[in-house]
């Protein structure tokens, strides 16, 4: 092991924890204010009733559920992508995984807030929790919302553990290199990690088991979110394609969020030697793949609706293609496919700036996609007498702003407390690179020890 290089790595990767710059302070202040605005708007809604939103009959869901699906979608950035990269042994994953896993945990926490925020009576949200209670009632396990409850809980628990496990050695490193209160906090968090060979072995085994389990869970989560719609018999909701369509869209928007977060971290914490153009290139290629898959799913979904020509479905279809929602529809197609796909396909444009621009388009486009799945269907119920429309109010926009601010705030605090690039995994990656041949970690050790 190269001592000087190790120390350099420790310095670089722990800098975000050790030093507090003005950039960080400003980000925290602005996002904190955004969060306060969202909380204030929610307090107002709590006090007055959900009528302060733009909802009506027949549009009973709109921004609330759009944001729910959007955040749960973003959460597929991390655990799923990092688990797939881990299981397939992609070496370039090392500086990326933690950054992605943290996105998952925070996006899930925020996404899971929306089903509570959107309730008519949010103070009784715990009635959805299955536990023996004095009311003598159990929830209805046939409801997709209860499936959501179980799926999001399982995914959140799994993601937290999956984020935490590879963090333990780094927490021990922080514990051993800091003093005072910080040392005490990291002592508790590092759970007595000493870095013995036994601990390394068990950690690796546990992470491998988790990675395998978390992949089907992640797929199931967004499938179940899609089933909130697909289980309903409303036109353009009752579609068997929704499960995979949503999962693909979730991974799509998740990768986009990851690229944006990585670029920001790279800039703010000077991680140029760790988050390299190759990472943006590889993630950009993944994003391109997902863009193509997204277009394929969208095309199949709309083509079958158009060709089937069933009047109720056609009404919703027309409202999106040529009706009041058509500007949003074409903005979505542009943001999710027409702009990012060529940008990512051309090697010269697949730079850091290029992938970030493409990702920003994708995030916006995927938010619009969720809105267009929810609102046009609801505003065109089967009995045409009841057709309606929807316009958001400032309260909904403030709550949405609050959710974005909350995400940035949580992320900033996380970066302040923990190294955002896994220190030990990065060093491990360097060690395996310096050895000749396709070496697994075990072989590296054998070679080094002359075994």
């Amino acid at each position: 092991m190269d001592r000087a290089r190790d120390e350099q790595i420790n310095r670089d990767l722990l800098r975000s924890v050790r030093e507090t710059g003005w950039g960080w302070r400003i980000v925290v202040a602005i996002s904190g204010m955004g969060l306060m605005a969202g909380v204030a708007a929610f307090a107002y809604q709590w006090q007055e009733g959900i009528g302060v939103w733009g909802l009506n009959r027949p549009v009973m869901w709109a921004f609330d559920i759009t944001n729910f699906v959007f955040w749960i979608g973003i959460s597929h950035a991390g655990t799923l992508i990092s688990a797939i990269l881990r299981v397939t042994g992609a070496g370039w994953r090392r500086p990326v995984t933690r950054c992605a896993e943290a996105i998952t945990v925070f996006a899930l926490m925020i996404g899971a807030l929306f089903p509570i925020i959107h309730l008519g009576r949010p103070w009784v949200f715990y009635w959805l929790v299955p536990y023996p209670n004095e009311r003598g009632l159990w929830p209805n396990f046939r409801s997709p919302l209860i499936w959501d409850f179980f799926a999001i809980n399982a995914y959140l628990m799994g993601s937290l553990i999956y984020l935490y496990l590879p963090l333990i050695p780094d927490l021990a490193l922080l514990r051993d290199t800091s003093r005072g209160l910080r040392k005490r906090i990291y002592s508790v968090l590092s759970a007595g990690w000493r870095g013995t060979a036994l601990q390394w072995d068990r950690l690796e085994k546990a992470v491998r088991v988790m990675a395998v389990i978390i992949i089907p869970v992640a797929v199931s989560v967004h499938t179940i979110v899609s089933w909130d719609f697909a289980m309903a018999i409303q036109p353009m909701w009752h579609s068997t394609i929704f499960g995979p369509y949503f999962v693909a869209g979730a991974i799509f928007s998740g990768i986009a969020a990851l690229i944006i977060a990585m670029a920001a971290l790279r800039r703010v914490f000077h991680l140029e030697n760790y988050l390299k153009p190759v990472h943006f290139n590889n993630l950009g290629l993944l994003l391109l793949t997902m863009s193509l898959i997204w277009f394929y799913f969208t095309f199949s979904e709309y083509l079958t609706t158009w060709y089937g020509n069933e009047p109720m479905e056609k009404a919703v279809f027309q409202s999106k293609i040529s009706g009041p929602y058509s500007p949003l529809f074409f903005a979505m197609v542009a943001c999710c496919f027409l702009i990012p796909a060529p940008m990512l396909a051309i090697k010269k444009l697949r730079t850091i700036t290029g992938t970030v621009i493409a990702s920003a388009c994708v995030v916006v486009g995927m938010w619009i996609e969720r809105f267009l799945i929810i609102v046009p269907t609801l505003s065109h119920p089967r009995l045409t007498f009841n057709w309606g429309s929807y316009k958001p109010t400032w309260v909904e926009i403030a709550i949405m702003t609050g959710s974005f601010s909350y995400f940035v705030l949580l992320y900033a605090v996380f970066v302040k407390m923990f190294p955002i690039v896994s220190v030990w995994e990065f060093k491990e990656g360097l060690a395996s690179q310096t050895q000749p041949g396709p070496a697994t970690d075990k072989k590296v050790f054998r070679a080094a020890s002359g075994d």
Partner: protein, 164 residues
């Protein structure tokens, strides 16, 4: 009984020291190697048998059975017809069973990992943390008596260790 420990700069020095310590009659149980980067266990070492995967399967089964019981019994207790569906609806409950199985598997794997890796316990090594953090490899040996302690010190010195 006291513990002797040496810090090494290189992996092969540390392994050499461990091999010599074993030749001196120390058992694998006496020797603990600590590092800031993953170093694998010897496969013939008895410590290397892990039951994490088995526990995760058992946890999955437990979660699945628990979810089956919860959904079935609770629905039967409520006994309310909705949408003409059967009271016990396997299609719908299967989804919850799946999620609970996965959660059970994850929690059991975590629990077993914490147990096997001896986390959340007071043990050897707390005093070596700062050395490990510098990127050195620490080999600690439990010595039953003074002679053994001297043997250990000799081995460490011969392998180029820095005593701590």
């Amino acid at each position: 009984m006291h513990t002797k420990a040496g810090a090494f700069d290189k992996v092969n020095e540390a392994t050499m020291a461990m091999n010599r310590l074993r030749m001196e009659g120390f058992t694998p149980k006496d020797i603990t190697m600590m590092s800031s980067e993953p170093l694998p266990l010897d496969e013939d070492d008895e410590k290397s048998r892990s039951l994490i995967w088995l526990f995760s399967i058992l946890g999955g089964i437990l979660g699945g059975v628990g979810a089956t019981l919860l959904t079935t019994l609770a629905s039967k207790q409520m006994n309310l017809v909705t949408g003409g569906m059967p009271i016990v609806a396997p299609w719908a409950f299967g989804i919850i069973v799946f999620e609970m199985s996965a959660l059970g598997a994850i929690l059991a794997a975590l629990g077993r990992m914490v147990y096997e890796a001896r986390l959340l316990r007071r043990g050897v090594g707390a005093e070596y943390g700062s050395v490990v953090a510098q990127g050195k490899i620490v080999v600690a040996v439990d010595c039953a008596d003074e002679t053994r302690a001297q043997n250990a010190e000799r081995v460490f010195a011969s392998c180029g260790a820095e005593m701590i």
